[in-house]
C-alpha cells in the first residue's frame, strides 16, 4: 500500500544549484558562440536541452514521492450496491433484469458509521403534557358517593400518559365501563377511552348485535380521525401525513385494540322496581358482584371469567380495523345479574381481576381492603403491596390497573333505568 511519508530536502539549496548551473551554461554558451558561430551554437543548445531532460528524469527516479500526510483522506463510501436484494415474495432474492455490474466493495478503509458521533438526542417533540389535556387522555368523569374510580399505570414512576387503560361512568344514568388498551397495538389509550365513553352514552350500541356491528367501524373511524388529524399533526408541527408516509398509513390501518367491560343498571324485567346489572364484555376485564355478609364481602357472581387460570396472554379485543367487526360480534359476551341495593359491583381490568380471584380463592385479606378503598393514595399503596405478593399469596402482575367500585343505589325510575 502507500509508502510511509519521507522527508525531502527543502527547496532553497536546490534553487542555488539551478542558479549556479544557469550562470555556468551562459558562460559556456558565450564562449562557444565566439568560437563556432550561430549554427554550432544551435547544435550545442539542442544537446544541452537533451542532457537536462535526462538529468530531470534521473532525479525523479531517485527521489521518493512523499505521502500528503497533513491532508486527511477524503471519505469513501463504504460500498456500492443500490440494487434490491431481498424481496417481499420470498426470502431468496431475484436479481433485477438487465444485469447490473457486479457489486464492488471498498477495500482497505474503515466504513463510515451511520452516526459519526455518539447518538444525539432525538429532535425535541412537543411537551408531552399536551396529551394530558387531550379529551381522550383526560376528562375522566369524577367519582361520587356511589362510584369510586381508580386508575394507575403499570409502574408508579410512569406518567398517566403511559397508562393504556381507561374508564367512563355516568352515575345519573347508572352506566359504567372500563377498557384496557392492548400494548402491542398502536395508540390504544384513546381507543380504550372512546369505547368506554361510547358504552356509557349508548349502551345499546353494544348490547344490540346489529347496532354493534354497525357502530364499531364508525368508532374505529373516529379513532383514525384523532390519530391523523390531531395526534400526528400536533407532534409533527401541523404536518398532515401524506400518501408518502406508507409506514404511518400501515400502522394506522393495523390500529388499536382494547378489551371492554360495560355495566348498566336497568330495571329488572321480572322484578319491578329492582335493578339488573346488564354486563357486556369483549376480552378479559372482569365484573364482580359482592354482597354484605356481616362485616365482610361475599362473592356472588363473576363474569365473564370466573377461574383465574383462564386469563390468557391474548384475550379477545375490539379493533379499530373494520375488518374485524364481524368477529367482534362473535366475541361479545352479555350477562344479566339481579342485584340488590347495597351490593358492591366491581369492574376491574385483567391483572387486577385475576388478582382478586386469586385472593378470594386463597383466602387472602388484601382484597377486602381494596374493596374498602376510599382514596387514590390508599389505592396506590394497596396496589404496591399487592404487587409484592405478601403472605404467600399470588402477586398482582405488573400491568396498568383500573377499578370501578359501584354501590348499587336504591331503585329510582330516573334516566336510563329502562332497558
Amino acid at each position: 500500500m502507500t509508502s510511509p511519508p519521507i522527508a525531502r530536502a527543502t527547496t532553497t539549496p536546490a534553487l542555488w544549484w539551478v542558479g549556479l548551473g544557469l550562470a555556468l551554461v551562459s558562460v559556456v554558451l558565450g564562449l562557444v558562440a565566439l568560437v563556432t558561430g550561430p549554427v554550432g551554437l544551435l547544435l550545442i543548445l539542442a544537446l544541452v536541452l537533451a542532457a537536462v531532460m535526462v538529468l530531470v528524469w534521473v532525479w525523479r527516479l531517485l527521489t521518493p514521492v512523499a505521502a500528503p500526510a497533513a491532508v486527511p483522506a477524503a471519505p469513501v463510501p463504504a460500498a456500492v450496491s443500490a440494487r434490491p436484494v431481498l424481496r417481499q415474495q420470498g426470502p431468496v432474492p431475484v436479481p433485477p433484469s438487465g444485469a447490473a455490474p457486479p457489486s464492488t466493495h471498498v477495500v482497505g478503509r474503515a466504513p463510515a458509521p451511520l452516526i459519526p458521533g455518539p447518538a444525539p438526542a432525538p429532535a425535541a417533540s412537543p411537551d408531552p403534557r399536551w396529551l394530558e389535556r387531550d379529551p381522550f387522555y383526560s376528562a375522566l368523569e369524577a367519582p361520587d358517593a356511589a362510584v369510586r374510580a381508580f386508575i394507575a399505570p403499570k409502574h408508579e414512576a410512569d406518567s398517566m400518559v403511559e397508562c393504556e387503560d381507561s374508564y367512563a361512568l355516568d352515575s345519573a344514568a347508572r352506566r359504567y365501563a372500563v377498557a384496557d388498551g392492548v400494548s402491542g397495538s398502536e395508540l390504544p389509550r384513546p381507543w380504550a377511552r372512546l369505547l368506554a365513553r361510547t358504552f356509557v352514552q349508548h349502551p345499546n350500541y353494544f348490547t344490540d348485535a346489529a347496532a354493534f356491528a354497525a357502530q364499531l367501524p364508525r368508532l374505529g373511524e373516529q379513532w383514525r380521525a384523532w390519530v391523523t388529524e390531531i395526534w400526528f399533526p400536533t407532534l409533527n408541527g401541523g404536518r398532515a401525513p401524506g400518501d408518502g408516509d406508507a409506514e404511518f398509513q400501515r400502522r394506522v390501518k393495523a390500529g388499536a385494540q382494547a378489551t371492554l367491560l360495560g355495566c348498566a343498571l336497568v330495571e329488572a324485567a321480572q322484578r319491578p322496581r329492582q335493578y339488573t346489572a346488564q354486563v357486556v364484555a369483549v376480552g378479559d376485564a372482569d365484573f364482580f358482584q359482592f354482597r354484605r355478609a356481616g362485616t365482610a364481602w361475599q362473592q356472588v357472581a363473576t363474569y365473564p371469567i370466573a377461574d383465574p387460570h383462564d386469563f390468557g396472554r391474548f384475550p379477545h379485543t375490539l379493533l379499530t380495523n373494520p375488518d374485524y367487526a364481524e368477529k367482534a360480534v362473535e366475541w361479545r359476551r352479555i350477562g344479566d345479574f339481579p342485584v340488590e341495593a347495597g351490593d358492591l359491583l366491581v369492574l376491574a381490568t385483567d391483572s387486577l381481576a385475576k388478582w382478586l380471584l386469586d385472593q378470594v380463592r386463597e383466602g387472602g385479606n388484601q382484597w377486602q381492603q381494596v374493596l374498602a378503598c376510599q382514596s387514590a393514595d390508599a389505592f396506590t399503596a394497596l396496589i404496591a403491596a399487592a404487587r409484592k405478593g405478601t403472605d404467600g399469596h399470588t402477586a398482582l402482575e405488573d400491568d396498568d390497573v383500573t377499578l370501578l367500585l359501584i354501590t348499587v343505589p336504591p331503585f329510582s325510575a330516573g334516566k336510563g333505568s329502562r332497558r
Binding site: 434490491p84 415474495q89 432474492p93 457486479p102 466504513p111 455518539p118 447518538a119
Partner: protein, 296 residues
C-alpha cells in the same frame, strides 16, 4: 424471582442486541446462479430487513410519535479490522432513533395480488437502508467478540435512561454472529465467546447465537444439541458449536418455528451451520424480535 429468560422486552426493560457480521474478503463471493449478488449483499440485506422488522415491532410512543424504545442495537462488521456500523464508538443505539435515521432509502418493486381485479399488480415501496455490504481482508472474529463483550459490560453497568428499570433486571443481551468461514486473526474466539456468555442479568446469562452462512446452499444443520452432529462438517464447526449458547427451555418453542416446525432438542445450541439465505433471515428474526415477546 422471575423464571429465567421470561422477562419480555418493554420500554421499561429494553433489550440489547449486538450483531457481528463477517465482512472478510470471502463475503465478496457471489451466490451460485446469482451472478451479481454476493454473500455480503445478502447479509446486508438481511440485516436491513431485520432492523426494519424490529422498528415495526415497536408501537408508537404517544408522547414522541416514534416507536417505543424497547431495544438497543450495536452492529459491528469484522474483516481485517472491527468496525462499528452504527455509532462511531460502537455504543448501542435505540430503535426509536434508528427509525428516523436511515442511511438512505431504496425503492423496490414487488408484485402484489389485487384480489378485486384478480390480477397481479407491480407496486413499489420505499424501504430504509442502514447497513451497506462490504467485504475485505481477514476474519478477526475474536476481536469482534471482545468488542461485543465490552459493549455489553458498559451497557449493563450504565445508569438507565429516565423511566427505565435497572438494566441488570431485564432480559439479558443477545449477540448474533454471522460468518461465512472461520476465525483468521489474533486471539481465541472460543475464549472470547465464553467471556460473553459469562455476563448476565437477573433473568439469565447473555446469549450468543452463531449463524454460519454459506454460498453452497447445502443442507443446513439447525440447532444441533450434540457436537457430533456438526464436528464432521469442518474443523471450525465444532468450535462454533461450543461458542453458541444452549437455547433456554422457554425459548425452544420459538426456535422450532424457524426450524420449519421440527422439534428442537433440550440443550440444543443457538447455532446454524451451512445456512442458506432464507435461513439467515429467519435466524436473525428469531434472534431479535422473535426471541422474546415485546410488551411495548
Amino acid at each position: 424471582m422471575p423464571q429465567p429468560y421470561s422477562q419480555r422486552l418493554s420500554r421499561r426493560y429494553p433489550g440489547l442486541f449486538i450483531i457481528l457480521i463477517d465482512q472478510s474478503g470471502s463475503m465478496q463471493e457471489t451466490i451460485p446462479g446469482q451472478n451479481d449478488v454476493s454473500k455480503a449483499d445478502y447479509a446486508a440485506s438481511a440485516l436491513n430487513e431485520v432492523i426494519y422488522a424490529m422498528i415495526r415491532q415497536g408501537k408508537y410512543d404517544p408522547a414522541t410519535g416514534l416507536p417505543r424504545k424497547y431495544a438497543y442495537l450495536s452492529i459491528f462488521g469484522y474483516g481485517s479490522t472491527v468496525n462499528s456500523l452504527l455509532t462511531a464508538n460502537g455504543a448501542p443505539i435505540d430503535i426509536a432513533f434508528m427509525s428516523n435515521h436511515p442511511l438512505r432509502y431504496e425503492t423496490r418493486e414487488k408484485d402484489e395480488f389485487d384480489a378485486v381485479n384478480n390480477t397481479w399488480v407491480r407496486t413499489s415501496e420505499r424501504v430504509p437502508i442502514w447497513i451497506e455490504p462490504r467485504a475485505e481482508g481477514q476474519t478477526e472474529m475474536a476481536q469482534a467478540l471482545t468488542r461485543a463483550r465490552d459493549v455489553i459490560r458498559a451497557w449493563l453497568n450504565a445508569p438507565p435512561e429516565p423511566n427505565q428499570g435497572v438494566r441488570r433486571d431485564g432480559f439479558p443481551p443477545i449477540v448474533l454472529n454471522i460468518t461465512d468461514g472461520q476465525h483468521q486473526g489474533a486471539g481465541d474466539p472460543l475464549a472470547a465467546a465464553r467471556e460473553i456468555m459469562a455476563e448476565q442479568t437477573s433473568c439469565g446469562n447473555v446469549l450468543l447465537y452463531n449463524c454460519h452462512f454459506t454460498r453452497d446452499m447445502a443442507n443446513p444443520t439447525v440447532f444441533p444439541n450434540d457436537v457430533s452432529q456438526v464436528a464432521h462438517l469442518n474443523p471450525f464447526s465444532a468450535q462454533l458449536f461450543y461458542m453458541s449458547s444452549p437455547i433456554p427451555d422457554n425459548l425452544r418453542k420459538k426456535a422450532e418455528e424457524i426450524n420449519s416446525g421440527r422439534p428442537v432438542a433440550p440443550g440444543a445450541r443457538g447455532m446454524v451451520y451451512n445456512s442458506d439465505a432464507s435461513m439467515l433471515v429467519r435466524f436473525l428474526t428469531w434472534g431479535t424480535v422473535g426471541t422474546t415477546g415485546v410488551e411495548g
